[in-house]
Amino acid sequence: MRIEGVPASAGYAEGPLFDLGRPEGIYASKASSAEEKTSLEAAIGKAVNRLVAMVETADSDAAGILEFHIAMLEDDALSGPAFASIASGIPADAAWRQALDAEIAGYEASDQDYFRARATDLRDIRDQVLRALTEDGGSTPPAGAILHGVDIAPTRFLETDWSQGGGIALKAGSTASHVAMLARSRGVPMVVGLREPLTAGAGMALLDAEHGTIVLAPSPMEIGSFRQASSSFAARQGKARTFLARPAATKRGTAVGVQVNIADPHDVDAIDIATCDGVGLMRTEFLFGKTLPDEETQYRAYRKVLEWAGEKPVTIRTVDAGGDKPVPGFTVEEDNPFLGLRGIRLSLARLDIFRIQIRALLRAAPHGNLKVMFPMIATSEEYDRAAALFAEERAALAARGVAHKMPPLGIMVEVPSVAIAPEAFAGVAFLSIGSNDLTQYVMAAARDNAAVAHLNSVRHPAVLRLIGSVAAFGRENGIPVSLCGDAGGDPASIPLLLEAGLRDLSVAPAQLAMAKAAIADVPV
């Protein structure tokens, strides 16, 4: 069965399906019948061990019952039919249930009361093993699993171990969601907006996140062509990787700066600084995941990235909470969060929290080439207030004799008011176009709403025209302009962005190679 969706992070994943919405107590099917077999053996063993432990404290009547259950569970004749079903491709839980239900039916059909009553024991035995099976792994997906559900929380993404592969397939979701960004930066294949829900998935699935499809219960032929497409993708990526080490340049040799977007300070551990021109966007929301980070935690996170980048610039964005990124104890609940108290608006409303971040940034600045930008700026007053807070905190640090440095302060261009009338911002140190938010606001299409995903295109002439005019404003006023949205890493959008006049892009680390390869093809 093949279900179409929208590719959100290119790549290929082959693995067992894992239902993100499953309540505890639902079995997670495995990738192969060998694993299903192991899983059932382990569950039977677990059930027996529990019974053995219970026998030790039971009276003789109870012990008699428990020993009967143990003897039944240890008898291969009971599990034999289940293992046979597993070998034919049925998941362990269904195989065990079928086998035991058949056995139970035999007891229920008996004409002797005593035997009919034993059906209850058999049901108990059945459920003990099912319980042990569902506990297996709990809510942790098996290695290399394809996580599916309506949507996935960013924390869930970050908690997942992607080192063994795996992918994401969502019914809702959006290519501009934060998980989609994270997936692209980590190279985790992801498809959103699936046209049909994945029916209780069993066994293997094939996720083609280059074209946006998922195949359930694939045929050998489907597996064959999937693997072919997957290795062709890997080969193209490999070819693109040859561009990695070189500075990016267009076909005509025009230099283009390519920086990386990062979310977690640990993201840089996997990036060779030589392959990029610095960090164009370091998000700080994820530091604000579950609790508000103290100054020291923030300072260490910023310093780590600054030291990693050395001479190269690191642009840290002050916290952009709100919108689709709620932070308990910080953000407020709103009917229309994308149009509400988010980004700099929220920071200016919660100076206690903002000042902590400002101090951490000022203290980290001497450790590298720091630039700081403010998200969601709509008016120059907001920038002035934020810059004044930097000056105040700087003076306070100086008075206390704490090492610090004032970084250049710039703004994100994502609210249309700034893109339409940039002249109010002639005094900022730099401009960074946040194409995801700029697009959603220009097109009036929430980026987390799959129903309007088709409207959310940076390639719409209205969005491109604004980008072009911001780039021209920067050139005329000697203000550097870069772009740090997803469009910067999208090979289809790159030519249009360069034609619009941009010469600095910041992309997800996983897209660095493909972006440089795409730039090399652009005739500007």
Binding site: F68, A71, A77
Partner: protein, 100 residues
């Protein structure tokens, strides 16, 4: 050394060859190397006496004449020991009908 043995015994235990008696019966059967089988009639069907699932499936109530046969090492010892176990009412308290 290979051997075969066969004998019959009347089940006198109140609830027959059921849960707890079956546990004892199959445990004892498993202590012998010989293949051991039971049947409710001389012409079968024969059930593996070492599998509690099969023994339970035989559904032998009180008053059943149980056929026991063994083949292989210690076959006659196995049959004798199992017959005795049934005759002793599986070492259960005869006056007390167990629920399991």
């Amino acid at each position: 050394m290979s051997a075969a043995a066969e004998a019959t015994v009347l089940i006198t235990h109140d609830v027959g060859l059921h849960a707890r008696p079956s546990v004892k019966f199959t445990k004892l059967a498993k202590s012998f190397a010989a293949d051991v089988e039971i049947a409710l009639a001389a012409n079968g069907p024969w059930f593996d006496a070492k599998s509690i699932v099969k023994v339970m499936a035989a559904k032998a109530p009180k008053g059943t004449v149980l056929h026991i046969r063994a083949n292989g090492d210690g076959a006659s010892d196995a049959v004798r020991a199992l017959i005795e176990l049934v005759q002793r009412d599986f070492d259960e308290d005869a006056g007390h009908v167990r629920s399991a």
